[in-house]
């Protein structure tokens, strides 16, 4: 299945919000191809009825009581912010729509 094109790499970079350079597009296309080739072996089990494992330890029903715990102050929350204003995180204009 691999043989990943520059266009595909560019699409992945967009999805992942990475402003990659042209040079990186080439390098990554080659490397992703090589890695995907090497890992494609796992596809052998794709159509088997082996159940997938998402969690290493078989726990279920781990819940928290609905009790308020102290969190952060506004000052702590904003302490690492690149920019803040009026107690809020200041960010550049948002173009897309909410999902």
């Amino acid at each position: 299945m691999p043989n990943i094109s520059r266009d595909e790499v560019a699409h992945l970079a967009r999805l992942a919000r990475l402003a990659v350079t042209d040079e990186e597009l080439n390098t990554f296309a080659g490397q992703l191809d090589q890695i995907l080739d090497a890992v494609a072996k796992v596809g052998e089990v794709a159509n088997s009825d082996i159940p997938p494992t998402s969690h290493a330890v078989p726990l279920t029903n781990v819940f928290r009581e609905d009790v308020v715990r102290p969190g952060l102050t506004q000052e702590q929350a904003l302490s690492g912010a690149p920019a803040a204003e009026e107690g809020r995180f200041r960010v550049p204009q948002i173009l897309g729509d909410e999902q």
């Binding site: 995907l36 890992v39 796992v42 794709a46 997938p52 928290r64 912010a81 690149p82």
Partner: protein, 518 residues
């Protein structure tokens, strides 16, 4: 060099608690040692001199007042991998994107260390966001292996292991997603343990691959690792994947093991990772492809040592272990592509390109491009691909099925044996730069360690001597079932005691770093 930096954590704790030496003196000795040699090793990204001494003074005051020390390790300083959050101490994960970030909260491991009276010397270097096997992927420059400073100290926790081998710290914390505690332990001649998944809280451990990450102890002896394991382990309500069970009695197991008797213990040699070492009483010829001969020889000698200690050794086949590496390189990048999405320049960390004309989306992309190194970007892209619609079943979905197969192999093996063994890593420390441009070659370093991350069971690397071909440390990997971490310590301590009795502690032979220049 002060004698204090040569002592084990157990010895230091004994002397501090007996008031023969103060924690401040011990801590200061290690801070001096860091000052003296870290320029040549670069194990630390940040040294917290004042914080460490404050903590040491608090321990001394408590002991002076006649109170019980807060823990068996109270007063013994430690080096903390820079992937665990520390309130008031920078946490960078080896990345530009978090340069200068001061977390407003402590990881649970950090909190437990502070509560146990363990002074934190500083934060250790690592591959960026724990992605790598060499610590070359740190944005702040590589760490060097104290055994040979042209070589890598392993990774991602190269800083933690190198700090032990360089006698800058008697204890360290690492995190292990695919081998990042054990492989650095192996190539630096130190002990490293990946506890059972869920045995140590992940709260405050900056996630690389959530279903694989596990923090654990790094030390120079098995007993020291056990003492540290008991301080950091145990249930944490802030981590939903934390196991609600008592910490296995690892200290008792280490002391038991040190008596040197493994009669009745069944040890399985993993055929797929051993070059047939056990079958014919020790020929390294077959199946050893990719393994350095000196590593296999050391492994065979270790297996022989276990027999001599009374263990019953059999060969066990885990056929699906050959699929572990490919499955890992789909699961870990997939989870990391999601975990690292939060580094977006909006709430904390680096922001690039915010000139008033660019949109949030553009600033995110520019920042992530500038803030992440090549390996991190490569894995984010790989994971984005593996999760995308149309590819999920073939890649991520299949990798999760492989995970089931690996667990079944372990289950079947542990019906026959108590522990499994293999070399920790196929080769000794390679040269800095040697594999930098070849991701697949780099990934092979974790060949033997990955199955335990996928299955979530416990595993340890313990030094097994120096390789005959290059004189560099080799590690023996011991694997135990989930929640049976104590078995690692029993077998590890027995082996360590026997090996030290024959050859002396391995680290006695590490070259003198004093005055070494870069």
């Amino acid at each position: 060099m002060s004698d204090l930096t040569r002592l084990t954590a157990a010895e230091l704790a004994g002397r501090i608690h007996a008031r023969e030496v103060s924690s401040v003196e011990v801590t200061q000795a290690h801070l001096d040692r860091i000052e003296e040699v870290d320029g040549a090793v670069h194990a630390f990204l940040h040294v917290d001199t004042e914080g460490a001494l404050d903590a040491a003074r608090a321990v001394d005051a408590r002991i002076a007042s006649g109170e019980q020390p807060a823990s068996p390790l109270a007063g013994v300083p430690l080096a903390l991998k820079d992937v665990l959050t520390t309130e008031g101490i920078p946490t960078t994960c080896g990345s530009r994107t978090l340069e200068g970030w001061l977390p407003p909260y402590d990881a649970t491991v950090t909190r437990r260390l502070r509560e146990a009276g363990v002074p934190i010397l500083g934060k250790t270097n690592m591959d960026e966001f724990a992605m790598g096997s060499s610590t070359e992927n740190s944005a702040f420059g590589p760490t060097r292996n104290p055994w040979d400073r042209d070589r890598i100290p392993g990774g991602s926790g190269g800083g933690s292991s190198a700090s032990l081998a360089a006698f800058e710290a008697p204890l360290a914390i690492g995190t292990d997603t695919g081998g990042s505690i054990r492989q650095p332990g192996s190539v630096t001649g130190t002990v490293g343990v990946k506890p059972t998944y869920g045995g140590v809280s992940r709260y405050g451990l900056v996630a690389f691959s959530s279903s694989l990450d596990q923090a654990g102890p790094c030390a120079r002896t098995v007993l020291d690792a056990a003492l540290l394991h008991e301080v950091i382990g145990g249930h944490d309500p802030l981590d939903a994947t934390s196991v609600d069970a008592p910490v296995p009695a690892v200290v008792a197991a280490a002391r038991e093991g040190a008596r040197g008797d493994l009669t009745g213990v069944r040890v399985g040699v993993v055929r797929e990772f051993s070059g047939n070492a056990a079958s014919a009483g020790g020929s390294a010829s077959a199946g050893g492809e990719g393994y350095q001969p000196g590593v296999l020889t050391s492994f065979e000698a270790a297996v022989q040592q276990l027999r001599e200690l009374g263990a019953e050794v059999v060969e066990v086949s885990c056929p699906n272990f050959t699929l572990a590496l490919p499955a890992y390189y789909l699961i870990a990048p997939s989870e990391c592509s999601s975990n690292l999405a939060r580094f977006d320049a909006m709430r904390y960390g680096l922001r690039v390109g915010d000139d008033g004309t660019r949109s949030a989306e553009e600033v995110m992309s520019l920042t992530r491009e500038a803030g992440f190194g090549a390996e991190v970007k490569r894995r984010i892209m790989l994971g984005t691909y593996a999760l995308s619609s149309g590819y999920y079943d073939a890649y991520y979905g299949s990798a999760q099925k492989v995970r089931t197969l690996i667990s079944r192999d372990f289950d079947a093996a542990f019906e026959r044996v108590d522990v499994l063994v293999s070399p920790t890593t196929p080769t000794t420390a390679f040269k800095i730069g040697e594999r930098a441009d070849d991701p697949m070659a780099m990934y092979l370093a974790d060949l033997c360690t990955i199955p335990s991350n996928l299955a979530g069971n416990a595993a340890m690397s313990v030094p097994s001597g120096l390789s005959a071909d290059d004189g560099l440390p080799v590690g023996l990997q011991i694997m135990a079932p989930a929640l049976a971490d104590d078995r690692l310590y029993r077998v590890g301590a027995a082996y360590e005691t026997a090996r030290d009795a024959a050859e002396g502690p391995l680290l006695n032979r590490v070259p003198e770093l004093k005055g070494a220049a870069l």
